[in-house]
């Protein structure tokens, strides 16, 4: 085995807490059972780490797959948290980890799907054509082979984002529409609606570009209204679904606010901005909303506009402070892929100023982590 990347070592340490409560179990065909930590698979060998004594360093064992009867993984919240915090800089670590856990994907409770999902998101954030294609391939694999419905749904969310990033708009539209026909989970339904909203938003902006004086043209007005209604329906549905993930709800509301602003409909834009400040206080989305509210003329203002506050930060296990709020890399890539010369409104949810960096410099994605 090649020498481990330092970050991978950290992650593996977290993945291997050596506590009985969250230890993995390997049952061999000869009936032996070993408790420890499954550290992945290399070719036909399972990597298994055990700690002989609390004071001693862990020892890595290798079990040929042919000897293994059963694997049982235990949930490891610390590892989940570390995965959640992984940023673009951790891509290579995640890639190595994914390669090791990929063969174990179909095992119940294995962390493979979680690793794959996070790695996929990081690939999307890398914003190169190849990495986006890789992300799409990865999410497609996860959407089929992940052991739980929630993980498969999350992978479908990833597919939709990847398709948008790659500019495969027709495929994205078809997939999102198909998903919505099948009573999906709330996060997936929200993502599908957001995908359709993004596409409709793009079409709407293109329409406005081509018909800057649509008000004077009775033949353009129906198309304007159709597109306008469709975007807002999609954005608002994504935000209003019960249990819509907050990250997606914020993106959706920002999108709806952007559409209203684009159409110079300031009162409804202000209404949504007020929602954002109240529903999602201390987030970058609420900051944008507050800044918008403060820019409004006095006649549109009322007293419930909060002062602009910095997003609440939370300490991470590694001592870094990262913004807890939604993140934005995927979003940008989606927009960039969509149109190269579009005239996005200043507050469009997809515009680059939504990209946030934590103090440590790690980029976060506004699309939020996949569940």
């Amino acid at each position: 085995m090649s020498s481990l990347h330092p970050k991978l070592t950290v992650l593996i340490c977290v993945l291997a807490p050596f506590k009985l409560a969250c230890a993995d179990l390997v049952t061999l065909k000869d009936g032996q059972q070993r408790v420890g930590h499954i550290a992945g698979q290399l070719e036909n060998v399972l990597l298994f780490e055990v700690q002989p004594a609390p004071t001693l360093p862990p020892v890595q064992l290798r079990f040929p797959l042919a000897h293994i009867a059963l694997l049982k993984f235990e949930k490891n919240p610390a590892a989940d948290e570390l995965l959640r915090l992984a940023a673009t800089g951790d891509s290579s670590t995640l890639q190595e980890l994914w390669e090791r856990f990929r063969p174990l994907l179909k095992n119940d409770a294995s962390p493979s799907a979680a690793i794959g999902l996070r790695y996929g998101l990081l690939l999307l954030n890398t914003q190169t054509l190849n990495s986006r294609e890789d992300a799409l391939t990865l999410f497609s694999l996860l959407a089929i082979d992940s052991p739980t419905l929630a993980e498969r749904d999350a992978a479908l969310q990833g597919i939709l984002r990847a398709l948008l990033c790659l500019g495969k708009t027709q495929t994205a539209q078809n997939q999102a529409t198909e998903i919505l026909k099948k009573t999906p989970s709330a996060p997936l339904a929200s993502e599908a609606n957001l995908t359709l909203a993004t596409l409709a938003d793009s079409a709407f902006r293109k329409f406005l570009e081509q018909h800057p004086r649509w008000q004077e043209d009775p033949f353009s007005q129906p198309e304007y209204h159709t597109l306008h209604h469709a975007i807002l329906d999609f954005y608002l549905t994504a935000a209003l679904l019960p249990e819509a993930p907050p990250e997606l709800a914020q993106r959706a509301l920002l999108g709806a606010m952007g559409v209203h602003r684009l159409c110079k409909a300031l009162p409804p834009a202000a209404e949504i901005a007020r929602d954002l400040t109240l529903f999602f206080p201390d987030t970058p989305a609420s900051q944008i909303a507050t800044a918008f509210l403060q820019s409004l003329p006095a006649s549109l203002l009322n007293s419930d506009i909060p002062p602009v506050t910095a997003p609440r930060a939370s300490s991470t296990s590694s001592g870094e402070r990262t913004q807890k709020a939604p993140k934005s890399e995927n979003q940008n890539s989606i927009q960039n892929a969509k149109t190269t010369n579009s005239t996005a409104a200043p507050d469009a949810p997809t515009s680059t100023h939504h990209r946030k960096r934590s103090r440590s410099g790690t980029q976060q994605d506004a699309a939020g982590p996949l569940p």
């Binding site: 004086r213 353009s220 209003l240 019960p242 419930d304």
Partner: protein, 972 residues
């Protein structure tokens, strides 16, 4: 609007939030409520203590000790009580009593005999010397618990307070309180809550929360949240939830919190804090998920308890509460499980909040989601109507129509008459719902212009229950639909009937107004006047009184009651001086006065038209000018016309006023300065020509060019334009410069096409399409096409469509773009432009060009039949210029030739050279093709005659005819 959803849920919510939940073993369970069962370990009422009559004092204490050790509280307490009965007051056993009384109290507590326990604890606490700490404190604490169980909350709180000081004294700065002190604080807050002082409970918790450890902070948050809601401090409750969401959604408090959130949402809604209500309601999770989650939590807890039971440890104080808390959680869960329409209730509250915020789209989307996710429920009835209302508010009539049609189709009328088919629905409610949706369907059809369908729908409803709200509104709407459908007589008849039936209804005023309008439209002027009088009598403060009175004046005028009409209009102008119809009224009065030659009065009236009301102002202005001209008041006329450019610089009639003024200035009687006639147009150009919106100035140039009928005048005009162009160019007036260059180009096109073309191309360069008028852009595009710059011409036409979508030149743009696409072989694009032309342009001089292009495309697509149909259609169009018809005939003939049908082709060719001699190129082509057709038929004599006929003319392509003729030599 939808009523505020106060369902049985609210009552349940109120009940369940009073379930006291401290489901942990760390603190004792407080008061049991009606919702919770009796303490599980409490003895039944008839379970009297076992008598131990034969035992000695020593035996009794031994038994009590043994039972206590074995966890048999019943025997232990009975033994203690028997002992006390005999020996409590004896001096010699005082020490023993002192020693065992606390154990007795605890045993009694475990049995749920709190009154007895309380008594024993009181005695123990009163014992002197007092028990050493920490036992004394523990006794006080347990005594407080007993008092709480006996609903003696004030007493319990005092007991807890008395237990507090020694505990608090041990607190170090910055540290959490000791565990027992934390519990006491929570219990004090609980007592305050139960003493009906929830605000104080919340305030107490707010003061001490920072001194609690994490676990107790969670409990405190749950209690504080409940207390804030009970104390109706809803905004603080929301703030608490937002800052402590993680604690409050802890699995042990989840259901309570969720139901409290519903209550919180209600409270905020009632206070009109709609957005805050939404913030609370959106935190409520779906019913099924809550049940699943709570089931799994309780199952896990039960498993944990079972595993603990297998390794049973001696009972400790408080262990009874674990079971009690679990029981409470189970009770709460079961109470929650039987709830109906939980999700729908939440969603309907959200809808109410969004509607109150006038956010109908959100309300509609939430309702749609709710309707998708819910089965039959009485609440749904109102929800469907609300949904239709929301879509109606948004003017999304297609949604209203689809919703109403779907509902009416899925709920046949007889279903409403036979409630046994769906017992969950109230038949009366069903009829009402059906009526409402039928009404909305009719309304949607009306708004979508489907008047026949709308009438059918509305009429089907208005007969059902004529005095009911929706039926009544349907009757009104049907009358209005007739008015929209341009059937004013029918509309008037319906409104008359409506007013007779429902003179007091809220819609009567509107009906009265539209009745008057309908009569006016139907030219029933006398009736219209009477209807207007009725309106004024019945609605003296009616909002649309000015509209009705103006309609009356119109009818008066139509009845030729001039004096009466003048009086009515004068009164109108006095009474409604600021009304938006003032211009129309003043114009009408001006017309009446000028008709009876009261010129001065007419001029006064026309001068009252505000320039902000553009249509009546322009009309009135030129009528006034005409009056001044008729009365030969030339100085006044000149001055009047001069005012127009300043008052209405954006008017399309600006050039008309300027040129008229220039013409008047030519007359010495006008009093205009010398050279005013020549200078005025250029003065106006200088003042308004650089304003892109003042497109009217462009109309000045063509008449000036036409007036310059001699070469000298043309040269002079050109010189003047060139000077003006130079001046504007030097002063940086880009728009004016462009307009003047365009004018120079146009002025030269006839006499010096090359120079004219160059000027136009020069003007076209860098012309911003958004602020260049379509008239100029069209000329630029033509010039570019003429200059063999088709791509730039195409861009120019595209810009014209983009920036001037209502321009009259749009037909030329479509014609060019279609022809251009067809020439490039882009059939789809070509057909696309043709479709837009057909849709957007109607009758147009470009129809011929468009149809020819369409036929070309159809022919090229291998569909000659369709191409011929198109060409035949072109030939039937009267408006199509003859040139295009000649081309159409040629194309038709060619098409038949391609189909090897020269016999049919020949008459088409012949029609060209018979009817369209003005276009010799086309005639020559027709002769030649006709001859070829005869040749193809083998009719050499006819072919020879055709070529000879052509040779006898002065047509072009004579040489070709001669060649053909030569080739026929010797043939028969």
């Amino acid at each position: 609007m939808m009523c505020h959803p106060r369902s049985p849920m609210t009552a349940w919510c109120s009940a369940v939030v009073f379930i006291v939940l401290f489901p942990t073993k760390a603190i004792a369970a407080p008061k049991q409520t009606l919702q919770t069962p009796l303490h599980p370990l409490a003895l039944p009422a008839n379970n009297t203590p076992t008598p131990f009559t034969n035992l000695t004092a020593e035996d009794l204490l031994r038994l009590a000790n043994r039972s206590l050790a074995a966890g048999n509280s019943a025997d232990a307490s009975n033994a203690f009580l028997c002992f006390l009965k005999d020996f409590e007051d004896r001096q010699e056993t005082a020490l023993l009593v002192r020693k065992f009384r606390p154990s007795l109290a605890i045993s009694l507590m475990r049995l749920g005999r709190f009154a007895e326990a309380h008594q024993q604890l009181e005695k123990a606490i009163a014992t002197r010397p007092a028990y050493p700490e920490p036992l004394q404190g523990e006794l006080l604490f347990q005594n407080g618990i007993c008092a709480m169980q006996l609903n003696l909350f004030a007493e319990a709180r005092n007991i807890f307070l008395s237990a507090m000081p020694p505990l608090v004294e041990r607190l170090q700065l910055g540290a959490n309180l000791p565990p027992r002190a934390q519990q006491i604080h929570l219990l004090i807050a609980s007592c305050l809550f139960h003493e009906a002082t929830p605000k104080e409970a919340a305030a107490h918790l707010s003061r001490v929360r920072h001194l609690l450890d994490s676990e107790n902070q969670t409990r405190a948050a749950a209690l504080q949240f409940r207390a804030l809601i009970a104390g109706e401090s809803f905004e603080q409750a929301l703030q608490l939830f937002q800052s402590d969401a993680t604690r409050l959604t802890d699995s042990r408090y989840l259901l309570t919190t969720q139901t409290l959130l519903l209550k919180l949402g209600d409270g905020l809604l009632e206070r009109g804090l709609n957005r805050q209500a939404l913030a609370a309601l959106r935190q409520i999770r779906p019913f099924e998920k809550l049940l699943q989650f709570q089931d799994s939590v309780l199952a896990a807890r039960s498993a944990q308890v079972k595993s603990q039971e297998t390794q049973r440890q001696p009972e400790r104080l408080g262990s009874v509460e674990v079971t009690s808390a679990d029981a409470d959680a189970h009770v709460e869960l079961e109470a929650f499980r039987v709830l109906k329409n939980f999700d729908l209730s939440v969603r309907l509250r959200q809808v109410a909040a969004y509607q109150a915020l006038q956010r109908h789209q959100e309300a509609a989307l939430v309702l749609e989601q709710a309707l998708e996710g819910c089965s039959q429920s009485p609440l749904l009835d109102g929800a469907i109507i609300s949904l239709a209302q929301c879509w109606g508010e948004l003017e999304r009539w297609e949604k209203v129509l689809s919703l109403a049609s779907r509902f009416l189709q899925n709920t046949p009328q007889n279903a409403t008459q036979n409630p046994t088919q769906n017992p969950t629905q109230n038949p009366t409610q069903n009829v009402k719902q059906r009526s409402a949706l039928t009404y909305f369907k009719g309304l949607a059809e009306q708004k979508m212009g489907l008047y026949v369908e709308s009438l059918r729908t509305l009429d089907s409803l208005s007969q059902v229950r004529p005095q009911q709200e929706f039926e009544l509104r349907a009757e009104f709407s049907a009358a209005f639909t007739q008015l929209l459908a341009d059937h004013p007589a029918d509309a008037a008849a319906r409104f008359r009937l409506y007013l007779n039936r429902h003179p007091k209804h809220a819609t009567a005023e509107d009906a009265s107004r539209w009745f008057c309008v309908a009569l006016g439209f139907d030219k029933q002027h006398a009736a219209c006047r009477a209807a207007a009088d009725d309106y004024v009598v019945h609605f003296p403060e009616g909002e649309v009184r000015p509209v009705v009175l103006l309609q009356k004046a119109r009818s008066t005028s139509a009845l030729k009651l001039q004096a009466q009409a003048e009086a009515e209009l004068n009164a109108w102008l006095v009474n409604f001086p600021q009304h938006e119809l003032k211009g129309e009224a003043a114009l009408m009065l001006g017309d009446l006065l000028s008709a009876r030659n009261a010129t001065d009065a007419a001029l006064v009236s026309l001068a009252k038209i505000p320039s902000t009301q553009s249509r009546p102002f322009d009309e009135g202005f030129f009528k006034a000018a005409k009056l001044l001209q008729q009365s030969q008041q030339l100085p006044q006329l000149y001055a009047h016309l001069l005012r127009f450019p300043d008052q209405r610089p954006e008017s399309p009639r600006l050039a008309e006023a300027v040129l008229w003024a220039a013409k008047v200035a030519e007359s010495p009687e006008s009093g205009a300065p010398n050279h005013a006639a020549h200078d005025l147009p250029f003065d106006i150009l200088r003042r308004h020509g650089d304003n892109p919106v003042a497109e009217g100035v462009e109309g000045i140039f063509d008449p000036m060019a036409k007036q310059a009928s001699t070469p000298e005048l043309r040269t002079a005009l050109l010189h003047r334009l060139t000077l003006a162009h130079k001046e504007s160019s030097q002063s940086g007036k880009m728009c004016l410069t462009r307009r003047l260059l365009w004018a120079i180009g146009r002025a030269q096109l006839a006499t010096n096409p090359t120079a004219g073309q160059a000027a136009l191309l020069n003007a076209a360069d860098k012309a911003p399409p958004d602020s260049t008028s379509p008239r100029l852009l069209a000329d630029f595009a033509d010039a570019l096409a003429m200059a063999s710059r088709p791509n730039e011409a195409k861009l120019c036409w595209l810009d014209l469509i983009k920036w001037h979508p209502a321009a009259a030149q749009k037909d030329s743009a479509f014609a060019f773009l279609a022809a251009s696409a067809a020439a490039a072989g882009d059939k789809n694009s070509g057909l696309g432009w043709i479709t837009r032309f057909e849709k957007e342009c109607g009758a147009s001089a470009q129809s011929g060009s468009i149809l020819l292009t369409k036929a070309h495309i159809q022919e090229a697509s291998g569909d000659p039949k369709e191409a011929r149909k198109t060409l035949e259609a072109l030939l039937k169009e009267r408006a199509v210029p003859a040139e295009f018809k000649a081309d159409a005939l040629l194309l038709l003939a060619d098409s038949h030739m391609h189909s090897r049908d020269p016999h049919t082709a020949i008459p088409y060719y012949q029609r060209v050279y018979v009817m369209y001699a003005r276009w010799p190129e086309r005639v020559a082509k027709a002769y030649l093709r006709s001859g070829e057709a005869f040749e193809a038929l083998g009719n050499v004599p006819a072919a020879r005659r055709t070529y000879q006929e052509m040779l006898a003319s002065s047509l072009p392509r004579i040489a070709e005819a001669q060649t053909h003729l030569d080739s026929l030599e010797g043939l028969e």
